[in-house]
Amino acid sequence: MAAVLELLLREEVAVGAVLRWLRQGPGHRPAEVTGLVSLSLLQKDFVPFLLNFLREQTSQILTNGPSTPAKTPNSKAHGSQRTGSERRASLGSFLTATPEALPARRGRRKGGSAVSTSGRQVPRDLGRSLAEEEDGKNDSPSWSGGRRKRSEVPLVSARSPPSQLNLNNLEEFPPMGAASGWTNKPSRRINPTPVSAERPLSKPKTCFTSTPVSQSPAARFSSGSNLEAFSTVQEGNLTSVISSSLQEEREMLKKERYGLSMMVIGLLILNIHLYYLIFSLPENLVPNIFLELFFVLQLLTSKGTSTAEEEEESDLEVNERKKGTLKFLAENERIASFSPTLHERLRQAYESSTAKVSLLLPCSVQSVSFQPETDNRSNFPSDRAFHIFKKQRDIFYELLREWEDNHEKTGWDFERVLGNKIRAMMAHLSATCNHSHFARLFQKQLIQMCKGPVGGGASWGDTPDQDVLNMLGPDNLSRLKRLQERFVVPQSIRGPCPPPSFPGCQQFFRDFILSAGSYQFNQHLVDSLCLKILELDGLTLVEHEHSDGEADMDEQDEKKRFTVVLLSLRLLAKFLGFLVFLPYRTVEQPTRDLQDSAVALRNQTLPVLDVLKLLRQSIRDHRSILTVPWIVEFLSLADHIAPFLDYYRKVFCLLLLMVLSEDKEMSFLNKLLILAVLGWLFQVPSVPEELFFATDVRQEGVMVDTVTSAQALDSVPLVDQQLLYTCCPYLGELRKLLASFVAGSGAKNGGFIRKITPTAAESLAPKTSVTQRKLQVELEQAFFHNQPPSLRRTVEFVAERVGSNCVKHIKATLVAELVQRAEVMLQDKVKEEDANHDKLLEEVCAHLYEEGAQALIKGREFCKKKGPEAVRVLLPEETSAAVLNSAEDIAVELATEKACGWLSANIAALIKREVKATFNRMLKVPGLPLPSEDALELRRDCPPGCQHRAPFPSQIINEIKDVLCVAVGPRDEGEVIDHDWLECLLGRLSQTLRCRKFMCPTSEQQLAKCTVELASLLGESVMIIKSNPTYGLLKLLLSVWKEDFGAPVPVQLMFSRKNIASLTLANKGSLVCIHLLQDFLKELEMLSRVFTSEHRIEEPRTNPRELTRQSLGTVTAQS
């Protein structure tokens, strides 16, 4: 390894040659690389070695942002319980080949939560590592050659202590070029700025893979001789691959080469060269191309290379150099061709421009709407289950709101505050078997809230306050937004490969699952997630034949649709992965023994979702751009064992092959997205590091043969810049890095996502004979074959909608009508035989089923009418009459099949269900059967020209109540009822009763009751004071009862026991005036007959006059 590098550095081998050496197999030995012949075994190992070497070399000059982890097998050796030699044989040679003592690049993630530990380790001096290695710890023979070679030529000669180097000490740090023969250089030295002081806030918080540059107390440059070697390389035999701009750079560099600062630049340039090599290859030699690019950019923008003591000239040079290099990078065509996006970003950074896309989305977080089709009573086994779920839904949102309000407060703990509530809820769900309903709600809410780029905004209250907006006006709105963004968007650089996490609202859902700890719930949620994932993964997202005019529009729609589907899939898959691997999650990497037994055990069970099959299918059908990103999300949450299972190993190998192979047909940004997410996946802690560089992987992963599929997506440019950054926010780190260098603003990405509900037509049951139907199908296919695909989509869509609407229409008309009739029948019968309700229901329904058959006829009519209308509206005006007719016919046919198929199977059940529901409602309202109430209400309309200005019924009841209060007593001193006022009240009562607008049955019944009481009391007073005007009021009341009431008036109550008692109490023995009431009673009797014949009155039907007689008798008896 090091030997190859050395050859390179000593100019014995040209960069281009190494490149070719890398590209070609071990058998290939071009003449120019003779020096490499002996090293042929190490080709595949060179890249990881190089990557690590470069990081080591440059770790001291990187001051900006988090450092980039090297993802190489050796990185695990340190701090791991396993040693390289324990590993699989196929990996062993490489593992031992690299210095075991090389710094561990990655901390271990602790626990299942996204919070990663700061398990980063201080990188150790490469020199020291190598020195330790020389102590003979490694015993792999395959490596010995390489090691010997390297140790012969000391790469790093500075054997000084790893820290606290005195850079001013000329002995420890001889002036640059001392060994090179450049004699006339002023001895300049660099005093590296301690990086930890430079950007204390830029320490990566969660970048578990990062090597913390800032922790190194001092710079440790290689000795002059090494640097000389670096410098020399720049003049080396660069192949034509390298662009001319680089040549110019080198020329400039050559001219101005002096001083230590130049040494650093030289180092940078070398690195860029080497990276350039990597990028130049069509095959990907590095696991995470973006990580490497990030690293390069870090080098370029590093700031720690100049000090205040330096002469200004030098300072300028350095800056110039850096700027120039940046320019070089920006203008580098190779990079441009590799990644237009990146190129664009680089260019932007160079020009200090800022992007315009806003990161803050309008966070339209809402609840999941209630859908009767899935949520109403008929979807639950019992009333209880239904009501419990009603409560659970509300509790769920209550929890969500509580979380929303408080989770960012210090000291607020999810489990402590919500844990018990959640578990209580789970217990209720279990008791009523409502888990599937809740899982669906949970999943829908998850998608609703979290499908956005940043895990669904941080807060529901993100929208600016309306008052503030009004104050600012629309012009300032954007300024406000930008200001807000600055507050909300985290500026910290998290590094290019953050661990899998649950940002924003996703956190709530994750913690909910953890706190619930419910096996049942998890299982139902897994079912629900799998189903949704399969549904979304299988969607046809693209129509391939665009007719000219609509192409643009369609493409836009397709992109949008794809974006929504992809983001939803990734979200769902992440949670699926979380759930599936949750039981196996361990804090620590298990030991080899534990791993073996766990693998043996778990190899026996089938995976919940066959991702391997789906992945293979996607590759075969050219749909990997949709499938791979979500599979990556799924796998990113794998536990430590999972990747070693036979099944998942195959998945990983297949994914690896995708990175390594070149798919020329794939659209460029699509490929970029896949590379980015895969690169990220291979950095995830639970994914074994050696996977990427292991040979057997390449043999194991069997690439799938592809077929031409109508649903192919890979070649369609579906991914845009925005989606790329949404899916891989870590790519934004590149930009942040540049931006922070050029002093631009924070990264912005994201985009607004429209929710769409995909619809699909269903295939329908056969009606006619098989052969005929087959022919029809063939004809139909043939018809669509030469038509634009939108025609087919339209027809299927219309059929699906019209069919569905037809069923709804039948429900609302025919079924409703039948139910109404059933209601009448039931009402009559339920009185007669209270006993057997079920039998009654059965009888009535049986009677209706025959008429239910009409549904099919009506359904057919409906489809025949509506289908063509819809097709005509949706198809282009210019569609020829014949095509239109056929399309209409097919649409009608399909719609009818769908509707009638459903109706014929379900109409009886539907009728029964509806009748039963109505019947139950009827039984629940005793004494107040709904229809009769309706009938009464309908008995009268407002008089013609009614202005609805009459007093409200409530007002009149209230006033009568006041009158009754006074009449019943106790009265205040001198409190009387004014006769005129009472007359006026009765007048207004009449008005109120005539206007039906605000009247409801209970109001009217109460008015009837109250007026009867009033009459009773009036009668009493008539008897007491013998006043004729009061008698007049009674007559008035009588007419109101007769003319204005729609409801029956319980006039018989006038002579109730209560009122007779009252009468008796009030007026013992006074019978004189009873005759005054004779006329009144006569009319009352008639009225009573009217009411009793028209309406059933529950009270015992007594003749009022008879009653009077009785009561008079009582009175007489008592007197």
Binding site: S378, G461, L469, N958, V968, T1002
Partner: protein, 283 residues
């Protein structure tokens, strides 16, 4: 009419310990002439109900019931025409209707030698003529008629007011051409929680999107609003998204604090309505 918390507190404090009689109501109106009568009545009723809730338990012990019943019996023995029950209720600071219920229950228990069903009691309170004792019937009736916070008559008035305002709201929606699905339709479709109106096409009121409107013919004080939020408004939000609550008799201004999250309070039909295509602002 919106009241500030301070204004509301002043009224509530005045109400302190009052009896639910028409006389108290009269005094309240004299004290706060600027407030609308319905608002005052609504606050009065709510405050009184809070007061009753606090003392409810002590009147519902078996001992208390026995004492009340004996006092009633003694009272009517002396003078059956005197407002015995009503005065008893006032004396022990309890709602007359509820006192009537306790005594009626005790009476029936003695007569039937069994605990009477709630349905029967309710039915007798609604229609005292069903009470098998004429004197008690009149006493009960006197109580229910004179009670302005509890009892079947008050319940009916409240129901009527609620209904009337729903009709009013419906009229306004129709007038503004906003199509809606009413509660009964929703219930027929099997919705588990149903606001008064769901807008078929959402509108923006004062810049806030609303999907549903709930009419409340009462004053929105803290406790009732909290209860409504818990039982109704959040449930609506959970199913239909943000919405509007109209407290026709006003509310405490400070309670209108969930606008951003999606529950808007108004004391009248809003004027600043923006529909999908055009503004209806009538300012």
């Amino acid at each position: 009419m919106k009241l500030s918390k301070a204004q509301y507190d002043e009224i509530a404090q005045f109400l302190g310990h009052v009896q639910p009689t028409r006389q108290s109501l009269r005094k309240l109106k004299e004290k706060f002439p600027s407030q609308s009568q319905s608002t005052l009545l609504s606050i009065f009723s709510q405050e009184y109900q809070k007061q009753i809730k606090r003392t409810h338990a002590k009147h519902h012990t078996a001992e208390a019931a026995e004492t009340y019943y004996q006092r009633y019996l003694n009272g009517v023995m002396k003078n059956a025409a005197a407002p015995v029950l009503l005065e008893l209720a006032n004396e022990v600071d309890f709602a007359p209707s509820l006192m009537a219920r306790i005594v009626l229950e005790r009476f029936l228990q003695e007569r039937e030698q069994a605990i009477p069903s709630k349905t029967l009691i309710n039915s007798m309170l609604r229609d005292p003529s069903q009470i098998p004792d004429g004197v008690l019937a009149n006493q009960v009736y006197q109580c229910t008629v004179n009670d302005c916070c509890y009892g079947p008559l008050v319940d009916c008035i409240k129901h009527a007011i609620g209904h009337e305002h729903e009709v009013l709201l419906r009229e306004m929606l129709l007038e503004k051409n906003l199509s809606f699905i009413a509660e009964d339709q929703l219930r027929a479709k099997g919705y588990d929680k149903t606001p008064d109106f769901i807008l078929e096409v959402p509108v923006a009121v004062e810049g806030h999107i609303i999907h549903w409107i709930e009419s409340k013919a009462s004053f929105g004080d803290e406790s009732s609003h909290q209860a409504y939020l818990q039982d109704q408004f959040w449930s609506y939000w959970n199913r239909f998204g943000p919405g509007l609550v109209i407290y026709w008799y006003g509310f405490i201004e400070e309670l209108d604090c969930h606008r951003e999250r999606g529950i808007l309070l108004k004391d009248c039909f809003p004027t600043d309505i923006v529909t999908l295509r055009h503004s209806m602002a009538q300012r």
